[in-house]
């Protein structure tokens, strides 16, 4: 059993600092955009795709490849679907001066 290496400790720093940045940024999002915010962060959290790609493509064994490919499938649905729906929503938000008739 080994303990955390130095680089792993640095990863914890990254995690906590990113959390603080997130808190600052998210607190400034107006309630008007809370639904797009949620679907956009949802799409971003599909970043597990990165891990899934490595797992599926490393050619470990049949089971790992199938599990990995399933992960890629799910993560892609998450990423692509999340971005498309966010775009569809944001497209709809308009100010009154740009309104037709």
């Amino acid at each position: 059993m080994t303990t955390a290496t130095l680089s792993q400790m640095l990863q914890l720093y990254v995690f906590v600092l990113a959390g603080f940045v997130g808190y600052q940024v998210i607190s400034k999002v107006p309630p008007l955009l809370h639904t797009p915010l949620m679907s956009m962060t949802n799409a971003i959290s599909g970043i597990s795709l990165v891990g899934s790609l490595v797992a599926a493509g490393s050619g470990h064994d049949q089971t790992s490849t199938i599990l990995g490919a399933t992960a890629v499938l799910c993560a892609t649905i998450n990423v692509v679907g999340g971005f498309v729906i966010t775009d569809r929503m944001l497209r709809m938000f308009k100010r009154s001066d740009r309104r037709q008739s």
Partner: protein, 461 residues
């Protein structure tokens, strides 16, 4: 060289994600922000694909193409009213990916894993599995194939706490014995079960908190994946999503004047019993129901109307009719604004998206704090399918279960019209004094057809 390229794309992706989220602080910059985030994701994917470890591409490409098709179809074909359930199911897919990566990692390395990595994997499995089943339950409740009212049973909280303790115990055991495959499997099973049990007692009106919380868990699972496989972009993106969901759940809990734990441990289920005692008796009071024609005449000559939409508007998909009515009022010289309670609907910002879909300009849509002072100047407050968020008992009746919850002060308007399906009490099971107010006129029926008739009747005035 290749490693620098990969790390470079991850670094750029992390910055772009943050810039993308920052874009959301105003509707004017939001789409640019989305493009930043999309470029970031693309970079991260490209960077990963050149990874030396990836040697076979057939499965990856097949899965990505299929996933893209499903993702696009799901997002393009779905009506805007279904955004909450789509968000829930999307959380589930993301969490499945995170959990599968964790399982693969554990299958391959198991006993050789360091304490740190096993700890990260444990978190990944815990949060990921809770998100999978929790999101599926939320999806089911929103879609209607799982009953939406809270499902409660005896010893619910004690058994949930027991399950949680077991999961934590397994987690600790696994850290000290990374090779204990059965502990890993049991942790997965316990977490999956916990996701189901956490969402069972949660009712429709609490969905905004639950969806935010699952959003947060999905992010934390991704961040834990990053810690487990030493990948900074996963850690950063996951942390951003984790805090975002967390901030939203706190905002939503505040908007209901309830604590996190209060929402999670099914307090409304218990309060329903009390509500029967507390809720004022309806028997001796009269409701004024009005005809569409009378309402149309009044709306035609009114100067200032505030429209208060609620979940009822989403259920009957009446957002376009709401806009048509507002147009008719504006054509006659009246002013129309929209007042949105933070927890109106089933997810944060639900009403805003529906109104935006119906081409309501966002500068006419006001948050609760911005509009509450305005109700006393309004000639008419038009409540469409909202109930608890306009219940004056939250402000006036100390004994009410929702006392202290911030509400829209609709009762201060000169006249109040309430479009409502019937006299059923709201989710909280509490009588709403607003409906018995002498200034209130009730228009019973489906919101969509009532609004259609109102618009038609206004043309004849």
């Amino acid at each position: 060289m290749r490693d620098y390229f990969i790390q470079g794309t991850y670094f750029a992706a992390s910055v772009l994600f943050i810039l993308g989220l920052r874009g959301l602080n105003s509707p004017a910059t939001a789409r640019r922000g989305l493009v930043y985030a999309e470029i970031g994701m693309l970079l991260a994917i490209v960077g990963t694909l050149v990874h030396r470890e990836i040697i076979q591409f057939e499965w990856i490409i097949g899965a990505m193409v299929l996933g893209s098709i499903i993702g696009v179809l799901m997002s393009v074909l779905m009506p805007m009213t279904a955004v909450p359930q789509r968000t829930a199911i999307s959380h589930m897919f993301g969490a499945i990916a995170a959990v599968l990566v964790g399982i693969i990692e554990y299958r391959l390395h198991g006993a050789e894993l360091s304490t740190f990595t096993v700890g990260a994997l444990g978190f990944e499995i815990l949060f990921g599995a809770i998100t999978i089943t929790g999101s599926f339950m939320a999806f089911g409740k929103l879609q209607g194939f799982i009953p939406s009212p809270p499902i409660t049973y005896r010893f619910q909280n004690p058994s949930n706490i027991l399950l949680f303790t077991v999961a934590v115990g397994l987690f600790l055991y696994l850290i000290y014995n990374p090779g204990a495959t059965s502990a890993f499997n049991l942790l997965l099973a316990a977490s999956l079960l916990a996701g189901v049990l956490i969402v069972l007692p949660i009712g429709g009106a609490d969905m905004p908190v639950v969806l935010s919380l699952l959003n947060s868990y999905a992010g934390l699972a991704a961040a834990a994946t990053g810690l487990a496989i030493s990948n900074n972009v996963l850690i950063i993106a996951g942390a951003l999503d984790g805090t975002s969901g967390f901030v939203l759940s706190i905002l939503m809990s505040k908007a209901m004047n309830r604590s996190f734990t209060n929402v999670l441990f099914g307090a409304f289920g218990q309060q329903e019993g009390d509500a029967a005692l507390v809720g004022s008796t309806a028997g001796d009071r009269s409701i004024r129901s009005t005809t569409l024609e009378d309402a149309a005449i009044q709306l035609a000559y009114t100067r200032y109307v505030i429209i208060v939409p609620g979940y009822g508007m989403a259920v009957s998909q009446a957002q376009h009719q709401v806009r048509e009515l507002a147009d008719a009022i504006e054509k006659r010289g009246g002013e129309v604004r929209y007042a949105i309670h933070p927890v109106a609907g089933r997810m944060p910002g639900h009403m805003n998206v529906l109104l935006a879909e119906a081409n309501v300009p966002y500068d006419k849509i006001y948050d609760m704090e911005a509009i509450n002072e305005e109700f006393s100047h309004a000639d008419v407050a038009l409540v469409i399918g909202a109930n608890d968020v306009v219940n004056p008992a939250a402000r006036l009746d100390r004994k009410s279960p929702i006392y202290g919850m911030p509400i829209l002060r609709v009762d201060e308007a000169r006249n109040i019209f309430v479009l409502k399906r019937g006299m059923n009490p709201g989710f909280a099971g509490i009588e709403n004094d607003l409906f018995y107010d002498s200034k209130t006129s009730m228009l019973f029926g489906d919101a969509k057809s009532s609004l259609n008739k109102l618009v038609a009747a206004m043309k004849d005035v």
